[in-house]
């Protein structure tokens, strides 16, 4: 395994900038779609609520 350089190769920068912009834009799109006030925990709670009835205790 060839040792990798410590610094970021300069040729990565345009692609990194483009990828960051795409993902930041995704978050902005989501913010336009969703209601305010939910916490990340709501996702964990939503999963069992959306399970088919037969799997509920």
């Amino acid at each position: 395994l060839a040792e990798q350089p410590r610094s970021i190769p300069a040729e990565w920068e345009p692609r990194l900038a483009s990828d960051v912009a795409e993902l930041v834009d995704a978050a902005a799109s989501l913010n336009r779609l969703v209601a305010a006030g939910e916490s990340p925990v709501d996702f964990i709670l939503a999963l069992p609520e959306l399970a088919p009835r037969k799997d509920k205790a």
Binding site: L1, E3, Q4, P5, R6, I8, P9, W12, L16, D19, V20, E22, L23, V24, D25, A26, A27, A28, S29, L30, N31, L33, V34, A35, E38, S39, P40, D42, F43, I44, L45, A46, L47, P48, L50, A51, P52, D55, K56, A57
Partner: protein, 456 residues
């Protein structure tokens, strides 16, 4: 398992035969990082003694399996496919290891994986590549490269992998194995390497649906060691297999999620739909709401969390990461915290809307999984001469949305293109892995893809 339990075959002979074939395969497949001959034989002999005295046999009694090299085992330190340097060994097995051994499985070793599970091809510059059992010049897929290779090569009936964006399903499809990414929280992550806390799942790969169902039934369920492991009852997946698919609706999602498919893959998907209809299923068309947004949000969450998990090493000794992994971590380091949190805060609403729209008309969804068979290893090595990024760019777009949405997804082998395996994907409602297995097993019974084995 049936033959061992009924004394027709001893666990000792079965495990010894597997170990012999595993050792013979290493020079070509390179699927194992560690092979535990002595421990496996000791456990096999104990399994035979247990059967001889009429002891209670677990559902996996005497079954040889292996695990991706990212799970704690007492007294050992998993390598995680990386240059981790020195460090302490752990005192306790991962929960999945405890459950598998309690069920009678015999773990014969630790399996190859992509560096820190961050990659889709199965390349590994630290360990050497694991090769596709159907064609050594082609990739296995990753990051569960070793689990897919040993099951696809028919060296073992089952193995354990992990899936954060595609890492069970893509290698399963490219190596000719069944594999399931369970619902988020279905399987405990205690003692498993973390790659992305919000997206990681652990699941089995197996040579057929029944084996995959048995394995998931053993490892699934709540765990006091992992608060994210959900307290949702675990059905007997294997017992529910069989029968036809009348009263079941299979939703074909947006023409299979199909743009960019190889014509051979597209034809196989059409044939799979025909087979499922012949099994009694009603076929309906379904739109995948927010799927592309979910894919991009998946990338955001994964990159941010992976960068946080590896932040210290990225700061202190970045040269120990290979270029592909370093790129992914560097991307995560540059993402704003407010956007990462937005991606997590909107997740519940996107899930509710997706389930309401897609599962109103269907019990399971069918999508394409891999757009083409496994690509050549020398054209997919990050940054190397001959690297063709386009070959990989669209690979995970059919899998990542379901990690973000937390839904279960099953890889089903469905034929060959250019003599290399392909598969399709079934997606279910939260915690409805049972219906995925039922549909997959009906398809499997009506076809014979899972019975094929590569030439050795």
């Amino acid at each position: 398992v049936t033959l061992i339990a009924s004394s027709e075959v001893s666990a000792r002979d079965c495990v010894a035969d597997c170990l012999r074939r595993i050792h013979a395969s290493q020079s070509t497949l390179n699927a194992f990082i560690a092979i535990d001959d002595a421990r496996a034989m000791e456990h096999a002999e104990a399994a035979d003694r247990m059967r001889a005295v009429g002891g209670r046999l677990g559902p996996l009694h005497g079954m040889p399996i292996a695990i991706k090299d990212m799970f704690d085992r007492a007294g050992r330190r998993p390598g995680c496919g990386a240059d981790r340097g020195g460090g302490d060994t752990t005192r306790r097995d991962a929960t999945i290891v405890e459950r598998l051994e309690r069920a009678g499985a015999i773990i014969v070793g630790a399996l190859h994986m992509t560096e820190y599970a961050l990659g889709l091809t199965g390349h590994n510059d630290h360990l050497g590549d694991c090769t596709n059992p159907w064609s050594p010049a082609h990739v296995t897929g990753g990051s569960s490269s070793g689990p897919a290779a040993v099951v696809g090569a028919r060296l073992l009936p089952a193995a354990i992998g992990s899936d954060t964006g595609a890492s069970i399903r893509i290698p399963a499809a490219w190596c000719g194995a069944v594999g399931i990414k369970p619902t988020h929280g279905r399987v405990s992550g205690a003692g498993a390497m973390a790659m992305s806390y919000s997206l990681d799942t652990i699941g089995p790969l197996a040579s057929d649906m029944r084996g995959c169902a048995l394995m998931l039934g053993v490892i699934a369920g709540a765990d006091p060691r992992d608060p994210h492991a959900a307290a949702v009852p675990v059905p007997d997946y294997a017992a529910a297999l069989g029968g036809d698919l009348r009263r079941l609706r299979v939703g074909v999602i947006d023409e299979y999620f199909g743009d960019g498919l190889d014509p051979g893959v597209e034809a196989a998907l059409g044939e799979a739909v025909r087979v499922l209809r012949a099994c009694g299923a009603a076929i309906v068309e379904v739109k995948a709401l927010h799927a592309d947004l979910a894919r991009r949000l998946h990338r955001l969450v994964m990159a941010a969390e992976a960068a946080a998990i590896h932040a210290r090493m990225l700061e202190d000794s970045p040269e120990r990461f290979t270029a592909e992994v370093r790129y992914r971590l560097e991307l995560g380091r540059r993402l704003p915290a407010k956007d990462y949190l937005a991606a997590l805060r909107g997740r519940a609403q996107l899930l509710r809307e997706f389930v309401a729209s897609s599962f109103a008309r269907a019990d399971v969804l069918l999508t394409a999984l891999v757009p083409r068979p496994a690509p050549a290893r020398d054209r997919t090595r990050f940054g190397a001469p001959g690297f063709e990024p386009a070959l990989l760019a669209d690979i995970p777009k059919r899998t990542q949305p379901f990690n973000y949405l937390g839904l279960p997804a099953l890889a089903v082998p469905c034929g060959f293109v250019a003599d290399r395996p392909i598969g399709f994907q079934l997606v279910g409602r939260p915690f409805d892995e049972a219906t995925l297995f039922k549909v997959g097993e009906a398809y499997e019974r009506a076809t014979a893809w899972h019975r094929r084995a590569p030439a050795h």
